[in-house]
Each structure stands twice: as C-alpha cells, then as structure tokens.
C-alpha cells in the first residue's frame, strides 16, 4: 500500500514538473506574441487565483461541511496586505524595478504576509463564529465579511481614497506588485508555482489526520466529538488554514489586477468575485473534491470570459446575442440548469488522479451499466 502511494506521488510530481517545463519553454518561445501575451497569460493568472480561492473554500465547505459566506473578506485582506507591503518596500528602497532579485524576495514575502494576516484574522473570527452551525454560521461569516470590507473601506491608507484611486492604482503597476502584460509573462512561473504549492498543501491537509478529523465532523459532529475529536480545535484550525490560502489568492489577485477596490470583494457586488460565487464554484465542482474545485474555477472563468469577449457571440442570431450583452444573466441560467440536472456538482466527491484514472473510468462505466440494467429491470416489472 505504501509503495503504491509513493508511486502515485512520484507519478504526479513527474507529470507536474514535465508540464511545467513544457510550459516554460512555450512561454519563452511565444512570450512576445500578441494573443498569448494579452489574452492567454492574463487568463491563466486569473484562473490561478480563482483555483486557489475555490479550493481553499472547499476545505471549509466541502470537507468540513460548514458554510462560510465571507471568504472573499479574507481574500480582500490578502490582496490589500500584499499590495501595501510591496508599496512600502518600494518606498523603503528595497527594490528598484521588477527584474531585481530583491523584488522576487519582496514578492514572496508579500504573498506569505497576505496569507498569514488572513489566517490570523480568521483565527480571531473563527473562535466565536464557529460555535454556530449551518445557516447561522453562514450569516455570521457573511457579517464578518461585510465588516472586513467596510473597515478596509474606512482605513485612511487604503480603501476608497487610497489604492482604489486612479493615480494610486497606477502606482501599483509602477511601484508595487501589480504586473503589466509583459511582467505577467515574465512572472507566469511564479503564479503557477504558488498555485501548485497551495493546492499540494491543501491536498496534503485533506489526506492527513486533520483531513480525516474534519470529514468526521462533517458527517456527524456529535459522533466525532464522542470518539475523541476535539471539534472546535479542528474547526478553527481548518478555518484559519483555508483563510491562509484565500489570502494567498488575494495576493495573486493584486498581482493580476493592479487596481484594488473593495467593491470588487463586497458581498453585494454582481461580478464573478464575491463570496457567493466562490461557494458556487465549490458546489459546481463538487463538495469534497479539490480537483473538482480547480476544474469548476477554470470553467467558471472560461464561461465568464467567453460570454464577455468570445468571438462566437457575434455570429449568433441577433435575438440570442442580445441576451449575451448581459453576461450575468446567461451565467445565472447556466447555474440553475446545472443545479437542476446535476445537484452533486461536476465531480461529486471524486478526486481526479492520474494513477487511478483508468481503473476509475472502468469502475464508473460498470456502475453506469449496472444502474441502466437496474432501471430496465424496474421498467419490465413496473
């Protein structure tokens, strides 16, 4: 058994490294080409932070079974921490421009600081909040999310008069960690490494004894605590662990966008980035499946992007393309249809794995065949 596990790890590592190197070669070859630089690379950046964000919420929602509607608050903390730290470092003269080695250190420090601050705050929030369950927990986390956004808004050095303003936002490109399209190509490896590392860490968490404990809490909290699982300890720990990665996602967000405005993290904001959408991503991908979250984040981003910018929209008949002027409308419809026909989400609780791919497919096919036969039999009898 042990050898199989280690073989699986080895296989995954090899595949990831090969893919990564291939991608690096591709980047260095096509890095200066227009569509690659202006469309594909920024899309990858956005996918990266969405993936990390969705996967981090999946820890709380899918594996621990606690609904949190304030996840974007932690992302906002991460985004602002990273941006402010990088600005401060520039002001202190730690780096001159983005090709410096010291900039890389600042970048790493910003990402880490973003995660740590988000985790600390979520630890403080989690202690009182996680005493509640179900819908009440959802509401209290929503409340904390709103408060975080509101406080950031009212801080004199960020919020509405600070980073969100045009001049200051432009300075995030020049002085902070905001990446222009050229720098995005140059630092693409960084986004990928951070994403892969985060996902790996989360995956390891889920597979560890902590993961088993929180799954026990999800399935039956009373039974878990009766069998010696310290439920409040594991809940707060997981909450903080998940917020850490939400903070990291926030740091990636401020790298990608270079303009920060609290309204983009607010609960009432209608865009792709609010706490409800993260929940939607997790449910769409399947609660309790990290790979599902990754796939769902990519799909959500892709659908969103295609509806807004896709060339094929113009070829549709006028009556249909009129609807596509309102991307969120289509989005909502897609969502309702998916929920109606596949309430478990795309992956359910299945984890995609390279090693088990073939046996998994075979098993799924057998199961489908069995279900079909059963239905046929029921029909014959009924």
């Amino acid at each position: 058994m042990k050898s199989k596990t280690s073989r699986g790890y080895l296989l995954n590592t090899v595949v990831v490294v090969v893919l990564f190197i291939g991608f690096q070669i591709l980047t260095s070859l096509k890095g200066s080409e227009g569509s690659f630089k202006l469309v594909i690379v920024p899309s990858i950046w956005q996918c990266c932070y969405l993936m990390v964000l969705a996967a981090s919420l999946n820890l709380v929602l899918g594996f621990m079974g606690q609904l949190s509607l304030g996840h974007c608050g932690f992302m906002a903390i991460g985004a602002y921490t990273a941006a402010l730290l990088s600005l401060a470092c520039e002001r202190a003269g730690l780096f001159e421009n983005k090709s410096d080695l010291s900039f890389l250190l600042v970048l790493i420090a910003s990402v880490l600081a973003a995660g740590i601050l988000a985790a600390l705050l979520s630890f403080l929030i989690g202690i009182p909040a996680l005493r509640l369950k179900g819908d009440y927990l959802a509401i209290i986390t929503l409340g904390f999310g709103m408060i975080i956004i509101n406080i950031i808004n009212n801080l004199p050095f960020c919020g509405q008069d600070g980073l969100a303003q045009g001049s200051a936002a432009a300075s995030l490109y020049k002085n902070g960690l905001g990446f222009g399209s050229k720098a995005k190509v140059q630092f693409l490896w960084f986004a990928l490494v951070v994403t892969i590392l985060s996902l790996t860490l989360m995956f390891m968490f889920v597979r560890s004894k902590y993961g088993r404990a929180i799954r026990a809490i999800r399935d039956d909290e009373i039974a878990a605590s009766a069998s010696g699982v310290n439920t409040s300890y594991y809940k707060v720990l997981t909450f903080a662990y998940s917020a850490f990665f939400a903070g990291v996602a926030g740091a990636l967000y401020s790298c990608t966008n270079a303009t920060l405005s609290t309204s983009s993290f607010a609960f009432t904001n209608g865009g792709i980035l609010n706490s409800t959408f993260v929940v939607v991503m997790v449910v769409l991908g399947g609660m309790g499946s990290l790979t599902g979250s990754v796939v769902a984040a990519t799909i959500m981003f892709f659908v969103n992007y295609q509806i807004k910018n896709g060339a094929w929209v113009e070829h549709l008949p006028a009556s249909v393309s009129g609807v596509f002027e309102y991307p969120m409308l289509v989005y909502a419809l897609v969502l309702i249809i998916v929920i109606l026909f596949r309430p478990k989400g795309i992956f359910g609780s299945y984890e995609f794995s390279l090693q088990n791919l073939i046996p998994d497919i075979r098993r799924a096919r057998e199961r489908r065949k069995a279900a079909k036969a059963e239905r046929k039999e029921a029909q014959a009898h009924g």
Partner: protein, 298 residues
C-alpha cells in the same frame, strides 16, 4: 435632544421597512429552511411595477400609492413562479446547499433580467411623489407625513399577518408545515400549496416594503434589493428566524442601530455596526433574540 428624537424616528421608519422585508424572509425560512436570496429582488420587482403603474393611476385620477396593489399582485406571482420553477424541483432532488445556490442564482437572474428588459435598463429611474409633502410639528420634532404613514401601514400589516398566522386555518397550516412536514401531510394539509401560499404572502409584503422605500428614497434601480435584502435578512436572524414577532423586533433594532450610528458615529461605518450587533447577539443567543435554544438530541 432634538437630534436624538429625529434619529429615533428615522430609525423607526427604516426599521419598519426592514421589518416588512424580514417578514418575507422569516416566513420562507421558517417553512422550508431556505435563505431566499432572491427575496431582496422581489422589492426591485415591486418598485419597477409601481414605476410603470403610477402614471396610469394618476391619469385615472386615483392616488399614486394605489399602484401598490398591482405591485403586490406582480410580486406574489413572481415569488410563486420562483418557487414553482426553481425551488421546488431542486428541493425534491438536491440538498440544502444546492437549494441555497439556486436561490443565489435566482437573485442574479432577476437582477440581470430586469437590466435586459429594454423598458427598465441599467439606469436608475426616479418615481414621482407618492405621499403628500410636508408634515407637522410634535414639540420640537418634525414628523413628516411619509414617516407617519410608513409606521402606521407597517404596524397594521404586521398585526394582520400575526393574526393571520395565529387565528386562521391557512395560517395554522403554515405553522404546522414549518414545524413538521411529514406530520402536516398526515393531518391532511397540502404541504406544497401551503409553501406556495407562503411565497405569495412573503413576496406581497416585499411589494409593500417597496412602496415604503420609494416614498422615502424615490429612486429605483435593478440592484436596489441586494443590500436592503441582506440587512432585512440580518434583521430576521437577529430577532430569531422563523418567528414573526422576531422579524419585526429585529427589523426595528437594525433600523435604530443604523440610524444612530449614521448620525452619531460615522455614516460610512453604519454597515459595520449593523453586522457587529448581529454577531454579538448571535454569540450570546445563537437562536436570535426571541428564538428558543433547542438542545441537540443524540
């Protein structure tokens, strides 16, 4: 002292609007355990209906506020349609979480559908004056007619609703379904039509809330329901969700907190205090102010 009473009255007025919306949330939550995120958008539906009906009313020589009758009908239909098309199929198949996602999707759908309708569009619309201008002096405090009417109407609506749920057969059926669906079915109550009725009444209340809101802030836009609905839901939770007097109490508390922080501390921090109050109450009394803590059976 003058400012204090003025703030108090503003808070009561705001609170009674929140309470009306919160009633819709609390009724739906009480009966199917679903946070109906689309409820805030029913206010928007009511608002736009009134925008279109009010000129008609004025042309017929009727007072503008009679447009609320049309709004109630439209809102109730939209609410029941939402339940029939989206919530009921999902409830039959999915879990709580999928129902919640459907509610979020429905809210998005309504907001964006309104934008896609050419007569509405994304720009805000301004309504005409609904109630008469002016007011009277009570000591040193000015009472506007709008405020008085808002308070009186919402008081009457709440009393009627409370009597309805306590005294009538349908109201009893509603309470019964929210307590135990299986037992209600055994007692000969049609659970599905009771749920439908709840959606109709809750959405109709949203239309009345829209009237009150527009009387004060005569601007209607497609996302007007989002924050209003959120605060109303917070009120419902604060008072104890599923309990009708709780929604009223919660709404008034939230309205007062908001108006007092706005005038005494900072207007931009008002939301923080609203949610802070919620958090404090939930930590002290997890089931809300009027809610009963039910111990868990093992």
């Amino acid at each position: 002292m003058n400012t204090f009473f003025q703030t108090l009255i503003v808070g009561l007025r705001l609170g009674s609007i929140y309470a009306l919306v919160a009633l819709g949330y609390t009724m739906v939550y009480g009966i199917i355990r679903l946070i109906n995120f689309a409820h805030g958008d029913f206010i928007m539906v009511g608002g736009y209906t009134m925008i279109f009906v009010m000129p008609l009313m004025l042309r017929l020589g009727l007072p503008a506020w009679l447009g609320v009758l049309a709004a109630i009908v439209v809102c109730a239909l939209v609410g029941m349609g939402t339940e029939l098309i989206a919530y009921r199929p999902v409830r039959r198949k999915g879990t709580n979480m999928t129902a919640l996602i459907t509610a979020i999707a429905m809210s998005l759908f309504l907001e964006n559908l309104a934008q896609a309708i050419p007569a509405i569009g994304p720009n805000p619309k301004v309504s005409s004056q609904i109630f008469g201008n002016g007011g009277f002096k009570l000591g040193t405090v000015t009472m506007e007619y709008t405020t008085v009417i808002t308070l009186v109407i919402s008081g009457i609506v709440m009393l009627v609703l409370y009597a309805f749920t306590q005294r009538t057969r349908l109201g009893r059926a509603m309470r019964c379904v929210s307590e135990d669906k299986a037992a209600a079915t055994l007692m000969g109550i049609n659970v599905n039509s009771t749920i439908l009725l709840t959606f109709g009444i809750g959405s109709g209340l949203a239309a009345i809330a829209a009237l009150m809101y527009m009387a004060q802030y005569p601007k209607v836009y497609t996302t007007m329901g989002a924050l209003l609905g959120l605060k109303a839901f917070v009120s419902a939770v604060l008072g104890g969700i599923g309990i009708i007097p709780g929604a009223m109490l919660g709404g008034i508390v939230i309205g007062l907190v908001e108006s007092f922080t706005t005038s005494y501390i900072s207007s931009s921090m008002a939301d923080t205090f609203v949610f802070l109050i919620l958090i404090v109450v939930l930590i002290i009394k997890p089931a809300g102010i009027l809610g009963k803590n039910v111990g868990e059976k093992v």
